[in-house]
Each structure stands twice: as structure tokens, then as C-alpha cells.
């Protein structure tokens, strides 16, 4: 049972931003929540799933973000409140439905929560979801602290029902994954009974057909909804101002940048010179509110992460308001005062403030940074990103890499999204050569595989995880089969959405709420699509390599399912299959014949190079006992014994 439902109304709790968002949705009385796992968003659905039985809500990890949004929309169409959650690029996946949903409108309150990842801490992109709100014309709210994460989420449902439109509440990593105090509101008791009314007047938004056409009529309605939203935004308590009546400089900010701005003003001692307007309703921006605040001063700094979204919105309004408020001087991303790339922090905001206000402030003295850098180089060991000890991916990529080298046609692997994306790095022997969106590996491979007709003779492989297979690989595989592309797809099936925390997927017998559900069998799906399918245990290096070599010689679409459960899986409970040891008398060490293959190339963190003994050693504490290193040792020095 999660503590997010244990506190009474009015009590104060330390909550992670994602927990606060979940609590807000519960306080709003949602009935349905759907999402696809993705850092930094995953804990919202996870927390709702934990309380789903108690709170009588339906929670699912959908097959992908588009389906998640569709599942949540159905609840709204039937008059229930629903929440839909994803990471930033998930919105891209859902965006086609999103556009049409924005046009058709919603009934029961429906809120989309994308969690963006500025600085790409857990992503391979710095995608922005905010511009989707403007693109498809739905209201956008951005919580500026943890209390607001809950309160704005709750209010978003009211707004959604007020204007019958989907509402976006956008979070970022530093809000979703940081924690702060939240005062709870009450949890509603009664839930509505779902009923989808579809036989009223066809254009009736509550009783007719749910559709985005006739487009000019529906699009016109959408703009009326936005005007209503603007009117509500003008008086929203989520837009707050603090600072002098007429500051020298006005900061306009939102989301986590609010924290950095507040701290920066304090650091620089600028409380008397700088005003801070924190916006909670960031699209469309209410013009009267903006007129009031822009009139305070001549200089305005906009502080936000990634795309200058707020900056552009404010500038458009400032141009329109110019006859009333005069010409302002703006600072922000577009003139280089705030970086265009990466996460912000208080120091970066301080740097902008000290430049604009000509205040001498050095967040970190230069010689200190220099000295720190020097010391880091000599003092801190170089720790690369790597797969965990006992990770099946290390063994899988060992085999894939070796097979491609043996095949000797400069073959390559089109990568995909998962822990295994790290196979672009030395831990995966640099095996992945392209890496884009979920499912793109096989789509790109499908294209490469058609280039044989122009004389390309490189072996083309793709990889995907078990969850990614269902998410977006299936259509690409169908495409490859249908168009007779020559590819080999290796499915790295580790029995769960491992990277984001073992969320279930259609290949597993349990759903988000812990209910028994039927399995969709990956090999059977691939066979039905028309691919030749082989299954191997990646820990059996020889069989895996022989099978893959064989598949590479064949024409058409081949699938190799490498099935081995993730080393961190809760099911494994940290149990070791083998007890590993190294016979230092047999270990060849740095000599010709080995040259430290296990600790120099294979590099499982469970293997340590003992310089003094000139031999490899097992780190008992972290060795997962998978036994794979015994198969790579050329001299048989690494021994495995069945663990007791």
C-alpha cells in the first residue's frame, strides 16, 4: 500500500514530484490511468497501480504511448476522469491521436502528463513536449514546485471539464524525481458510472459522435475553449509574482527553472532589484496578466530549459502590447544569456543576472574549477557506463559482436531504446551503429536490407527489447517481411521493461495492477508475421553464435530471440546460479594468448584485474554468478560451480 493515500486532508507529506502528481490525480477522482514506462515519468503510473485496488481505479501499462492515450480517452468519452502519462518523446508517439483528440474534445476530465528530461539525464534526446500544447492547441500547465505538482494536476481535471478539452501538465526530471513538502487535500468517495452517449445530435460535444470533423466547426470550437482557458488563467493562483513593485529586471520562468531563479536571486543578493514571475499556466499566456507584469520594468529575462517556448510566447504578446507597454529589452535563450542546450542550474541563472545587472559574482572561482578538474583527472577512477554484472545484454552483444566480426562483411546493428542502447559504448563492444526512437532499429534495418539490390553486401542486424518489440518494432518487422528485406532482428528478451523498473508488458502473465493476464508470445508473433525464428540462451555463447552465424547466411527476415532474465529482476532475488573463481596459476593474464580478455574487453564489473598477482579475480560482492566469463576465458582459468 502506498503512503500517497494514507495521509489525511490537511496533513503535510514529503513527496516525490511524481507522487504528488499521482496524489493530485487521486484527489481529482480519476478512474483510469494509462501510460508507457519512461524516465522520468514512470513512478506516476507505478504509484497509481499500487493503490489501484484500494482506490478502485483501472491502471495499465499500455503497449505504447499512443495506445495509452487512446485507452485514457475512452474513459473520458464515457464520462470518467482519466490520466495519461509518458516521457517527453512518448508524446511524439502519441501525437497523431493527440492532434485528433484535441480537435474532437473530451468529456470526463482528461489530463496528459508528459515528463521532460532537460539535459537528457535518462534519454538520448532533449525533446520538448510543451510545443505539442501549442501545436495541437490545448492548454498547458507547468507546476513550479511539489505542492503545485499535486494542486495543478487536480485543477487540470476541473479545467478539462470546464472547457471539454484535454489539458497538458508538464513536468521535468528535477520536479518529477526530487521531493518536497505537499499538503494533502481530500480523496473523493463517489465515482461516476461510465456511459458513452453517442446517439444524440451529431455535433453535440457531450452526446454526439466524438470526432475532430467537421474540421472548421470543431477547430473553431477549440479556439473558443482556449479563450475560456485564457480567461481562467488571468486569475490563476498558479501564476505568482514576488519582488519589488518596479524591479530593475523581471524574471519570467516556469517549472524547475523557478527553483533555479529563486536561488539565483538569493545568491546574488538581488531581492531588491529583481522581480520573479512564476508562470503555472504557460500556454496560452493570459495577456492581461502579462501586460501587468511587463509594465513593471524595461528589462526582462526569461529562464526556462531547452526550447525558448515561454520566451517566444512572451515576445509575441509583448509585440502586441507594445503600444501600451512600450518597447522592452529581452534576455533569454535567443540572445545567449540562457543556454539553448542542457539543464539549467542556479549558477547559470546567476551568470545571466550578473551580466545583465553588471554585478560581480563568481559562483565558482576559476582557479578552484581548474584545480578540481586537475584533481579529478588523477584522483577519480574513470567509470564508464556499463551493463550490470550478470546482465544478459553483455553476453548477447559479445556474441553479436563476435559473429559480425567473423562474418567479416562489416555488418552492423541498428540499435533501439532500452538498457541495450548502451551497446554503442565499450560495454556493448561498440556494436550498435544507429540509435533513434523506439522500434526504429528494425525500421532502419528494413531499409538497409533493401539496399542489396544496389550492391550493398554488409550484414544488417537490428536489436530490440521485449517491451520495445510490442511498442513499435512489430510494424517494422511486418514491413521488412512484406518487402522481402534481408535482416536479422535479435530480440533481447529479459522478461520485463527492465530499464525503467520492470514494468510488465504483453509478453508477461501479469499486468500493472498485479492481475493475471494472458501472454502474447513473442516468437509466435514473429512466426505469424512470417519471419524465421530461432531462440537461444545468450549465456550459451557457443550456441548463440552458431545460430546467429547460420541466420546471417540466410536470405529474408530472421529473428533470434535471446531469452534470459535481467540480472536485477526481482524474480532473481539476487540469487547466484554459479559460484565463480579464478585459478591464478592457469590465468594467462597479460601474456600472449589472452592479454586480459576478461578484464580489458569483456569487462564485467564482477571481474577485477589483480595487478600484483598478474591475474584476474572475482569480486564476490558484485558477481551475479551468471557463469558467462568461464566461457570466454581462453585458458579455462575461470571456473564455475553450481552455487549451493
Amino acid at each position: 500500500m502506498s503512503y500517497i493515500i494514507e495521509g489525511q486532508k490537511g496533513t503535510r507529506h514529503l513527496l516525490m514530484g511524481n507522487e504528488a502528481i499521482a496524489r493530485g490525480a487521486l484527489e481529482a477522482g480519476i478512474s483510469v490511468a494509462a501510460g508507457y514506462p519512461g524516465t522520468p515519468s514512470s513512478e506516476i503510473i507505478e504509484n497509481l497501480a499500487k493503490v489501484s485496488k484500494k482506490e478502485q481505479i483501472y491502471v495499465e501499462w499500455s503497449v505504447n504511448e499512443k495506445v495509452a492515450m487512446e485507452v485514457a480517452a475512452a474513459a473520458s468519452f464515457a464520462g470518467l476522469r482519466s490520466l495519461c502519462v509518458m516521457k517527453q518523446n512518448g508524446v511524439n508517439v502519441a501525437s497523431d491521436f493527440l492532434l485528433h483528440l484535441a480537435g474532437s474534445g473530451t468529456r470526463g476530465g482528461m489530463v496528459l502528463v508528459p515528463c521532460d528530461d532537460p539535459g537528457a539525464l535518462s534519454s538520448i534526446n532533449e525533446g520538448e513536449s510543451r510545443h505539442f500544447a501549442r501545436l495541437v492547441e490545448i492548454p498547458l500547465l507547468e507546476p513550479g514546485d511539489f505542492q503545485e505538482a499535486k494542486d495543478i494536476t487536480k485543477w487540470a481535471f476541473e479545467l478539462s471539464e470546464e472547457i471539454r478539452s484535454l489539458v497538458m501538465v508538464r513536468s521535468v526530471t528535477r520536479l518529477s524525481h526530487a521531493s518536497g513538502n505537499v499538503v494533502f487535500g481530500g480523496l473523493p468517495k463517489k465515482k461516476a458510472r461510465p456511459y458513452f452517449k453517442h446517439d444524440g445530435f451529431i455535433l453535440d460535444p457531450m452526446e454526439g459522435v466524438v470526432i475532430s470533423a467537421p474540421v472548421d466547426y470543431k477547430h473553431g470550437q477549440q479556439h473558443e475553449k482556449l479563450q475560456k482557458a485564457i480567461a481562467l488563467f488571468e486569475d490563476s493562483p498558479f501564476n505568482t509574482y514576488s519582488g519589488p513593485e518596479n524591479p530593475e529586471l523581471l524574471i519570467i520562468t516556469s517549472s524547475a527553472s523557478h527553483f533555479y531563479s529563486k536561488e539565483a536571486i538569493q545568491l546574488i543578493g538581488g531581492q531588491d532589484r529583481i522581480g520573479l514571475l512564476k508562470m503555472g499556466t504557460t500556454w496560452p499566456i493570459p495577456p492581461n496578466l502579462m501586460e501587468e507584469h511587463l509594465s513593471r520594468t524595461e528589462k526582462i529575462l526569461i529562464v526556462e530549459e531547452v526550447i525558448p517556448f515561454l520566451e517566444e510566447s512572451v515576445k509575441i504578446l509583448a509585440a502586441e502590447l507594445a503600444p501600451k507597454i512600450g518597447i522592452k529589452t529581452f534576455f533569454g535563450k535567443r540572445n545567449g544569456f540562457i543556454p539553448m542546450v542542457g539543464e539549467l542550474n542556479p549558477d547559470l541563472v546567476v551568470a545571466a543576472l550578473s551580466r545583465i545587472l553588471e554585478i560581480d559574482y563568481e559562483a565558482v572561482p576559476e582557479d578552484y574549477s581548474k584545480r578540481a578538474e586537475e584533481l579529478t583527472l588523477v584522483g577519480a577512477p574513470n567509470r564508464e557506463l556499463t551493463f550490470c554484472p550478470g546482465c544478459p545484454h553483455r553476453a548477447s552483444f559479445w556474441s553479436i559482436h563476435n559473429v559480425l566480426e567473423m562474418d567479416n562483411r562489416k555488418g552492423f546493428v541498428c540499435g533501439d531504446i532500452g538498457c541495450y542502447s548502451m551497446a554503442v559504448l565499450p560495454c556493448g563492444f561498440g556494436t550498435l551503429k544507429t540509435l533513434h526512437a523506439m522500434g526504429s532499429g528494425t525500421g532502419v534495418a528494413s531499409g538497409f536490407g533493401k539496399l542489396t539490390q544496389f550492391g550493398m553486401d554488409q550484414a544488417v542486424l537490428s536489436v530490440c527489447g521485449d517491451s520495445t518489440f510490442f511498442h513499435a518494432t512489430m510494424p517494422a518487422l511486418v514491413n521488412a517481411v512484406h518487402h522481402k528485406s534481408n535482416i536479422t532482428l535479435v530480440i533481447l528478451d529479459n522478461s520485463g521493461t527492465a530499464m525503467t523498473g520492470f514494468q510488465p508488458h504483453p509478453g508477461l502473465p501479469v499486468d500493472a495492477g498485479g492481475n493475471d493476464v494472458p501472454i502474447v508470445d513473442i516468437p509466435s508473433v514473429c512466426r505469424a508475421i512470417g519471419a524465421k525464428v530461432k531462440i537461444s540462451d545468450p549465456f550459451d555463447l557457443q550456441e548463440t553464435q552458431e545460430t546467429l552465424l547460420e541466420l546471417l547466411q540466410e536470405e529474408g527476415v530472421k529473428v533470434l530471440v535471446l531469452k534470459q532474465i535481467c540480472a536485477l529482476s526481482p524474480e532473481k532475488k539476487g540469487k547466484k546460479k554459479y559460484k565463480m573463481s579464478v585459478d591464478i596459476n592457469v590465468c594467462l593474464g597479460e601474456n600472449c594468448g589472452c592479454n586480459r580478455l576478461c578484464t580489458r574487453i569483456f569487462k564485467c564489473p564482477g571481474l577485477v584485474w589483480d595487478k600484483e598477482k598478474g591475474a584476474a579475480r572475482i569480486d564476490e560482492v558484485i558477481c551475479a554468478g551468471c557463469g558467462v566469463c568461464a566461457s570466454i576465458c581462453p585458458s579455462g582459468a575461470i571456473e564455475k560451480k553450481e552455487a549451493a
Partner: protein, 373 residues
């Protein structure tokens, strides 16, 4: 002999189409593997000196040094190398009949050597489909199962490495000139080890004009016929100029001019036609496809041949002068072509200490070879 490591091997041999896939570097360490006739380096190895380079027949092959170490004489570029005797040979009555190429001399010698215990195991080359596959054979009866011409290079020496690792101390080898040259390099104790032991007790070399790139041959033949039907292949001695593909009920003739482009650069710089560093060398006798030419080079080889004759495993006779003369011309021509090509490619006698060289041959020998007729 100049010794380098795997990085240089990659640069000098693998990346320059000089690797013939003999298998000398395969199985010594986990880094080199051979698959479908091609040797690949799986991961970078950082050692400055390694057996891979030391044993490679295409890396710093210094014939003068090899000759001094093997025969105790300088390399003089003579057409057939050092030898004691040349004769015509074929399998004797005691050799069980089998499907062997030409006179069956090689199979007979190996079977006899295994029978007498001169060798405990023999490294031979079998074939899986069109892919030559090395095998370690320990019984005389199994020798004939490997008897047939391959025409493509095989990683035979990988099995020698395996046999050595497994502890065999008296190994026999049947190899092509490149494989025999590699073996000569390793038998010369290139690292000057105090406890050096030569696990080989008999090296039988084959005559070879060139070999074909396995993968290119498969690709070429696949475009002409259903390769799963191939039962054997043969290139009759000149002047026939064809390769015959045996498909059981049908034979397909392919002009050699179609086949020659499949000869890798590696073979085009090879100066050895008759496996000059073997104990015994064997080839087909020109004009008599049922007989072999046998060159006895070492004392050990001579003893074996004499015993095999006595025991009825071999039948020999004197080689006609004309055959010997033709053999010399063919071998000299291969040397000449190789030197010319190696020079063109910048792979011959590069200045020591400045630039590595695939091949090193004393200047006098080079001149002698170029001027020979």
C-alpha cells in the same frame, strides 16, 4: 626475424587482402577466428609482440633467415628449394583404396606415419560443402576421408594450434606452401625460448600455384550452378585451362580465366610453389593425373619414404628429366611473378627498421630469380 604484434598484423595483413586464412593465428588466443575461409580479429589486442605476427606467413617473412635456421644455408632462390631427391610416386598396395586425388601419395604417407607411431595425430583438411575445414585425425583409416583437392585456402593451422594446446607432442601436418612457411617460422623458435619444443614431427607440403578466396568462389559458383550439388572439383594440369565441377551425374567446366580473378593478392606474392620448407613435398605429376611428384627434403622425410616403400605403402620411380625441367620452370615462374607483384605492392624488402615488409629475400636471390628462365 622482426617481431611485431596483432595491431601490425591487422595493418599489414588482414587489412591488405594478404590474409589467406591459413589459421596460423587462430586458436592461439581468443582474438583471431576463421569463419567461411576468412580470418577476423574480434577485438583489439595491445601486445607489441605476439605469436600471431611471428607465425604469419605473410608478415615479415625473411626467407634468408628462415633458410639459415632451417637448412643452415643462405636462401639462394633456386626453383625447388632445398631437397635430397625428386621422384614419381603413388600409393602402394598396403594403402587401403579410397577416393584420393592423383596418386594418393599424401594419404599413404600420413596413414603410414600414423601407423608406425611417427606421429600421434595428423592435421588434415576436410571439406564441408565448399568450405575447407581442418581436422585432427588420429587413426590411419581416417586419413583418406580428407583426401581431395580443395583449391581454396583453409585454416588448417588452427587445428595445429588446438592439437598443440591439447598436448600432442608428435603431430603430422599436410599443408599448402603458405601453411608450411608458417610452420617453418614457428619451428625456428622466433621468440628464442629456452624451453622451446617443436610439437611437429612430420610436415608434408603440397604443390600450389594459387588458391581461391573461399567466399568469392562460393559467390561465383552460386551464380552458375546449385552449389549444394557439388561433389568435387578438379583443375587438370596445363594446358587444359579449365576447372571441372563434379556434380555426380553432371560435370561443369569453368574456364580458368573466370576463376583467376578469385585468386587473392596473398597468393600473387607467394614465392613458393613446392612447399620448400616441408619434410616431404607432393604434387600432381604433369601429364599423368594418376601419379604424384614427390620431393624429399629432409633426412626425416627420406627415412619415412624408405620405410613406406619397404612396407608397401608407396611405390616410386625415377622422374623423367623433362618433367623435372617443367617443374623447375613452373616453380621459378611463380617466384618471378611473386617478386614482381610484391615489389609493385611495396611489400618486398622495405628498409629494415623503417618500414615493415611482407617478404624479405636477399638481393642476390631476387636477381637470380628475375634472370632465371
Amino acid at each position: 626475424m622482426q617481431l611485431f604484434g596483432p595491431n601490425e598484423l591487422l595493418e599489414d595483413v588482414l587489412n591488405k587482402d594478404l590474409c589467406i586464412g591459413c589459421g596460423a593465428c587462430v586458436g592461439l588466443c581468443p582474438y583471431f577466428k576463421n569463419y567461411r575461409g576468412k580470418t577476423a580479429m574480434l577485438f583489439p589486442c595491445t601486445l607489441p609482440k605476439g605469436r600471431c605476427y611471428a607465425f604469419c606467413p605473410k608478415a615479415e617473412l625473411d626467407l634468408d633467415e628462415l633458410s639459415s635456421r632451417s637448412w643452415g644455408v643462405p636462401y639462394d632462390g633456386s626453383a625447388l628449394g632445398n631437397y635430397r631427391d625428386v621422384m614419381i610416386a603413388k600409393a602402394g598396395d598396403q594403402m587401403p583404396k579410397g577416393h584420393f586425388q592423383a596418386g594418393g601419395t599424401v594419404s599413404s604417407i600420413m596413414a603410414f606415419a600414423l601407423k608406425t607411431g611417427m606421429i600421434e595425430a595428423s592435421v588434415l583438411t576436410d571439406r564441408k560443402g565448399l568450405i575447407p575445414t581442418p581436422r585432427l585425425v588420429t587413426s590411419p583409416e581416417d586419413v583418406v576421408t580428407c583426401a581431395s583437392s580443395k583449391f581454396t585456402a583453409a585454416p588448417t593451422l588452427a587445428v595445429l594450434n588446438q592439437a598443440t594446446r591439447e598436448g600432442y607432442g608428435k603431430i603430422g601436418l599436410v599443408g599448402t606452401p603458405c601453411q608450411v612457411m608458417s610452420v617453418a617460422k614457428r619451428r625456428s623458435n622466433p621468440f628464442g625460448e629456452d624451453d622451446f619444443k617443436d610439437p611437429l614431427n612430420l610436415v608434408v607440403g603440397l604443390f600450389c600455384t594459387w588458391a581461391l578466396d573461399t567466399r568469392r568462389l562460393i559467390a561465383h559458383l552460386s551464380s552458375l550452378i546449385d552449389i549444394s550439388r557439388i561433389q568435387g572439383m578438379d583443375i587438370p594440369p596445363p594446358p587444359s585451362e579449365i576447372m571441372i565441377i563434379d556434380m555426380g551425374d553432371e560435370k561443369k567446366e569453368i574456364p580458368l580465366e573466370e576463376i583467376r580473378p578469385l585468386v587473392p593478392l596473398s597468393c600473387q606474392i607467394c614465392p613458393d610453389m613446392t612447399s620448400e620448407w616441408a619434410d616431404i613435398s607432393v604434387g600432381v605429376l604433369e601429364g599423368s593425373p594418376e601419379l604424384n611428384t614427390l620431393i624429399v627434403r629432409t633426412e626425416k622425410g627420406q627415412q619415412l619414404v624408405e620405410e613406406a616403400l619397404k612396407e608397401g605403402y608407396l611405390v616410386v620411380e625415377k622422374i623423367p628429366d623433362q618433367n623435372l625441367a617443367h617443374l623447375r620452370i613452373a616453380a621459378a615462374n611463380k617466384k618471378k611473378r611473386a617478386i614482381k607483384r610484391a615489389k609493385e605492392e611495396g611489400m618486398l624488402n622495405n628498409p629494415l627498421g623503417e618500414k615493415r615488409s611482407a617478404l624479405r629475400i636477399p638481393t642476390e636471390a631476387v636477381e637470380k630469380i628475375i634472370e632465371s628462365n
